[in-house]
Symmetry: C2
Subunit: 430 residues, 2 copies
């Protein structure tokens, strides 16, 4: 049984790893160093009830000092200003570098990237003077950025080389309502468009794209950022060709006693699932790494990890394969689709909910889901993740029972109707 | 194969029956008569996209005329002003009488009962002059009424003979936040208190209770209303000692070719599940009745039907057994409980979510759940209803994957944490 477990990074992966390790082995001494991590929105924000909750769980939090090196031979990390701290097991969740780091000029005022957005106060000041913004790439942070800028009344342009929002993760029909709501909010989307350069000297003036120039006061690059592999590479851990720390399905690195999770890794075989770089996947990977580091045994199964995020006036969500991915993978599927509503239609704030279910032909076991709606998409995604994992079928879902309560739930649950429609389509094709 | 299916009533049970019948046998001629039904909030409000949706599904809607009699021998209903309409199969979803009908005086101004609330406009007028209201019984409609009255700024008193809100359905610890939020809204709750009479002549002045008099300008009786059995009893159908139409688990009445569902029935053996009289259960019963009426085969399984409803500043929900019910039934259980949050805690409108899971000792299969929170309770209840049905265990739920997306989902899904806590408690007791 390992005594000292050190977790480098306090993002979703780091917190997941520490909590899982402590749950598996309550006697382990678990320490999180946030210095090199990607504490999105501030360290203490990641906790249920603040750092106190972590302390209550017996996890030691070190928010100040950075980890400057990992020594595999001595089994220690170098803590800035403190010297070596020993570990028996190490979990690296070093997150990512700022998007475009190394590729973007650092001296252009008005140019920002994911992981490099200034504090709220300074950001407010930047945007107060901005009339037009360009967001580069419709990734998960890109969606959030576009929506936030548009809500501030800034003329916002989204440039993405692919054909639709979250292409590959969200099917185009599922993403369409988001794009429509952006249009209502004044957002201009430029799909199938590559950014080929930046305009301006000293201060950004816009971007040059494959379809012409787009002037802007602010440019925010939201491309998927490169993995944070510096510490690991310097320590001699194997880094994959994709730039991430190489791990197996147990999140074990090339070194005994060292695990890694989150945005700093590359998955075995380069496997890609929807929003592989999302917080949901990072948290799931962290839990696997922490479990194994503490002596447990668990494999990472990305196909069961649901995803969901708000965008425009909608919330997107799903699990495992959508139509785009299934088609790309050459996987046959039975499709059930339905559009329902989030509450009785005479209630305020009623929203459409569209559900697509993909099932394996023959067995009719669920292999994926895609959704767009308002409330309850995250909870439906969690449910359908479990449904994929447990081998639940379209038939099971077609006969599911559901709440009927006009202010919060319509007579027909869209998941059930989608499953019923899938069965009806199948029946009609026989 | 039956040709003509008549559905009496257009509440959740009636709509569920008609839709299920049409799905089972698309060639069937399905007609809904709403006249005798309990079209809560108006007939057209019950539909996804209004009556048009029903028409599109090939269901005939008759909103005007009342059904005045059922003739079992001729297999016809008497339609007011139209004469006999024949059926091959009949589904009765006649709802309930107004609460207290027959027991309450009809000549007291200011006295209302469930099913007898005037139109929005008149109700506004009534309440405009009201300073103090008494709501009798913390049933599902009672909860809605208390909350709505308090939100209008009326000093609202809730009188209930039982010990807590939705006693029997919601465990006291689950109901507690609702009661606290009512207190913040100025509601005075009077539990363990019986209403023994009404005060006032011509106009209601309040109620006399086992604990003294409570003055009021408006009194709303929300006690569970008696089953609407008039038509059925007159036709010679067997009515149970509870006052409802007697049905078996397939929702078949004592007469061949006649089914019944919703608030007008009594369940076999007097079985009681949480909110047995809720819209969720009525809809589930209706679907069973409609399926069987159209030649399908399905049994009603109330233990799998989730429930949820807003109350005060919270939403309650669950499925099957809570602690109160399991204890009353002498059922042993393993308990897992956790309080989490609905989104990252630094986001606006973050709410606590408390989940209790009950599992069968040994197998650890889920046997019930109770919840209180904000968004996503209805969707979690749907999920857990399916989990009970599919035999999912505490261990399965402890290892479920979940969305992490700060604006809509916290790192830890409370369902997973409750399951983990249940397993930890079990481990500690060994």
């Amino acid at each position: 049984v390992p005594g000292r477990i050190v977790v480098v990074g306090s993002g979703a992966a780091g917190i997941g790893a520490a909590a899982a390790a402590k749950a598996i082995d309550p006697s382990a001494e678990v320490t999180i160093y946030s210095g090199s991590g990607d504490a999105a929105g501030g360290f203490d924000r990641l906790f249920l009830a603040g750092p106190q909750t972590c302390l209550d769980a017996g996890i030691v939090l070190r928010h100040g000092p950075r980890i400057t090196a990992i020594d595999l031979d001595r089994r220690a990390v170098d803590v800035e200003g403190e010297g070596a701290a020993g570990w028996d097991r190490l979990v690296i969740t070093a997150g990512s570098e700022p998007a475009g780091a190394g590729a973007l000029p650092t001296d252009l005022e008005g140019l920002y990237a994911v992981g490099n957005i200034p504090s709220d106060e300074e950001w407010d000041r930047v945007l107060a003077g901005a009339k037009v913004a360009v967001v580069v790439e419709a990734t998960a942070p890109g969606l959030e950025m576009v929506t936030a800028l548009a809500e501030r009344g800034i003329e916002t342009h989204l440039v993405d080389p692919r054909a639709s929002t979250l292409a590959g993760a969200a099917d185009p029909d599922i993403a369409a309502p988001v794009e429509e709501s952006w249009a209502e909010m004044g957002v201009k989307t430029h799909f199938n468009t590559r950014v080929e350069g930046l305009l301006g000297e000293g201060r950004v003036r816009g971007v040059r794209t494959s379809e012409g120039e787009l002037p802007a006061d602010v440019v925010v690059v939201c491309s998927r950022p490169p993995a944070g592999n510096d510490l690991a590479a310097a320590a001699g851990l194997v880094v994959s060709s994709g730039g991430g720390i190489k791990v197996d399905e147990r999140m074990a690195t090339s070194a005994a006693g060292v695990w890694a999770a989150g945005e700093c890794i590359d998955l075995p075989g380069g496997a890609r699932f929807p929003l592989q770089d999302s917080g949901s996947q990072a948290y799931a990977q962290g839990r696997v790494a922490g479990t194994n580091a503490a002596g447990g045994s668990r494999a990472y199964q990305p196909a069961y990890v649901p995803w969901s995020l708000p965008a425009g006036r909608w919330t997107l969500g799903g699990v495992s394969f959508g139509e785009t991915q299934a088609t790309a993978a050459g996987m046959p599927y039975v499709l059930g689709k339905a559009t329902g509503i989030s509450r009785a239609r005479y209630y305020p704030d009623v929203k459409k909910v569209t559900v697509k279910l993909l099932a394996e032909p023959g067995s009719l076991r669920l292999i994926g889901a895609q959704m767009v709606g308002g409330e309850g998409i995250k909870e439906r995604a969690d449910f359908l993740g479990m449904a994929v994992k447990m081998g639940i079928t379209l038939t099971d879902l077609a006969f599911m029972e559901n709440v009927y309560s006009p202010p919060i739930g319509a007579l027909n649950e869209p998941i059930a109707v989608a499953a019923q429609n899938g069965l009806a389509t199948l029946e009609a094709s026989r």
